[in-house]
């Protein structure tokens, strides 16, 4: 497992949520971030589902990468393996939720299949491998990134809901203004970068 970086897992948790927010700094998961942020309720539901899947996929991918992939020398196949693990994890979470938490499944169920192809999920696993995180670091990295993603999409959806009826210059409505709002949000998040040691 080599040289895991000597950063406290708690710092990784806060940093992945605020200073290196998945959407606003690393640009991951943009497709659904832009297209599913019209309503606060839907956006918040997707955010929760993403956070949940992120934690589970980091756990499974870490275990499989360090106990199966590395010993067998299959690092070059890691993209393929991660994708399969993510698809399987989403499927398992969906089945377990349906069985034990039917209420939650009713609310989050429609988002789960979408998440398989969300690049934030694959991105988390790749960052975890590239930065050589240990187990606890990876889990808190997944949790922090998921919560950060939820925070960002909820904030964007709330802003968009507030200005839904406004008249805008021609052609600026829809995705164009959404990008500009996101840019201003990203500018605000740059302010957090003084708090922690940058990863």
């Amino acid at each position: 497992m080599g040289n895991t970086p000597a950063i406290s897992p708690f710092v990784i948790f806060l940093a992945s949520m605020l200073t290196s927010n998945m959407v606003l700094v690393n640009f991951l998961g943009m497709c659904s971030f832009i297209s599913v942020s019209k309503e606060f309720k839907t956006a918040s539901g997707l955010g929760k589902a993403v956070a949940l899947v992120m934690v589970f996929t980091t756990v499974f991918n870490w275990i499989i990468y360090h106990f199966v992939v590395v010993p067998l020398g299959l690092e070059y196949l890691r993209y393929l393996i991660f994708i399969i693990v993510i698809a399987a994890t989403v499927q398992i979470i969906e089945m377990a939720m349906d069985r034990y938490l039917p209420d939650l499944h009713m609310k989050l169920g429609i988002f789960l299949p979408l998440i398989t192809v969300n690049c934030a999920i694959l991105g988390i696993s790749l960052f975890m491998v590239i930065r050589n995180y240990g187990f606890l670091q990876s889990v808190l990295f997944g949790l922090g990134s998921g919560l950060g993603w939820w925070l960002a999409i909820s904030a964007l959806a709330a802003i968009r809901e507030q200005m839904a009826g406004n008249e805008l210059p021609r052609g600026l409505d829809g995705p164009a203004i959404t990008f500009i709002i996101t840019g201003i949000m990203a500018l605000a998040f740059v302010g957090f970068s003084g708090i922690f040691v940058v990863m």
């Binding site: 606003l24 991951l28 497709c31 960052f127 600026l172 409505d173 995705p175 990008f179 500009i180 740059v190």
Partner: protein
């Protein structure tokens, strides 16, 4: 065999009418992440053209043999195979750029453009057309990538492809190489393109949606 007019129509549609980035808002993640340097963007563009063209070609070849119910996972695996090939080549030939791009090469797999072309075109069209459709869709993406990377590198570092062009010694804008500027530039570009496209049809100001 494919006709010249068809190729022309495919070219125009993918580069302008249905530009994957500016009109369909697909493939934004990598677009924003790699555009602070022009050289990184060029490599990323080549990677995407390579992956989308060959994935479309392969999916189109196999379109009559893939069972409809499991097509998504099979398409993803085909795409992943081509991206792994590109990743290995880049690692061997251009190790510096490979390190700078980091996880974003692997993330071509989840780039919505490739999946979108597979679903919308390759699975119902013959291989040659699908291949060309993929090349042109990739070119449309690369064109946007180059414009944004050019502006960001020029204003952020005062260089183009690493050569210093800041002859007057002007102050560079650090904000241009930071994440917020990427969002602003894409937003403004979508705005401009929307206006040019709707100018032809004279559409009035709409509501924010």
């Amino acid at each position: 065999m494919i006709k010249k007019a068809e190729v022309k129509a495919l070219f125009k549609r993918n580069l302008w009418d249905e530009n994957q980035v500016l009109r369909q808002i697909l493939g934004i993640c990598s677009l924003l992440a790699v555009t602070n340097l022009l050289s990184n963007s060029l490599v990323m563009g080549v990677g995407l053209i390579f992956s989308v063209a060959l994935s479309s070609f392969t999916i189109s070849l196999l379109r009559n043999y893939i069972p409809h119910r499991v097509r998504m996972i099979i398409q993803t695996l085909i795409i992943a195979a081509w991206v792994i090939l590109f990743d290995i080549v880049i690692k061997a030939m251009l190790p510096d750029i490979s390190r700078a791009l980091g996880p974003y090469v692997g993330l071509i797999i989840t780039n919505c453009i490739i999946m979108g072309r597979a679903e919308a075109f390759a699975q119902s069209n013959p291989p040659v057309e699908s291949f060309l459709d993929g090349v042109f869709a990739g070119l449309g993406y690369t064109a946007v990538l180059i414009v944004i990377a050019f502006i960001r590198e020029l204003m952020g570092f005062g260089t183009i492809l690493g050569f210093n062009v800041n002859f007057l010694g002007l102050q560079t804008w650090t904000i241009m190489v930071m994440p917020p500027a990427a969002f602003f530039l894409v937003g403004v570009m979508i705005w401009i393109v929307n206006n040019i496209a709707s100018g032809k049809k004279a559409v009035g100001g709409g509501k924010n949606g």
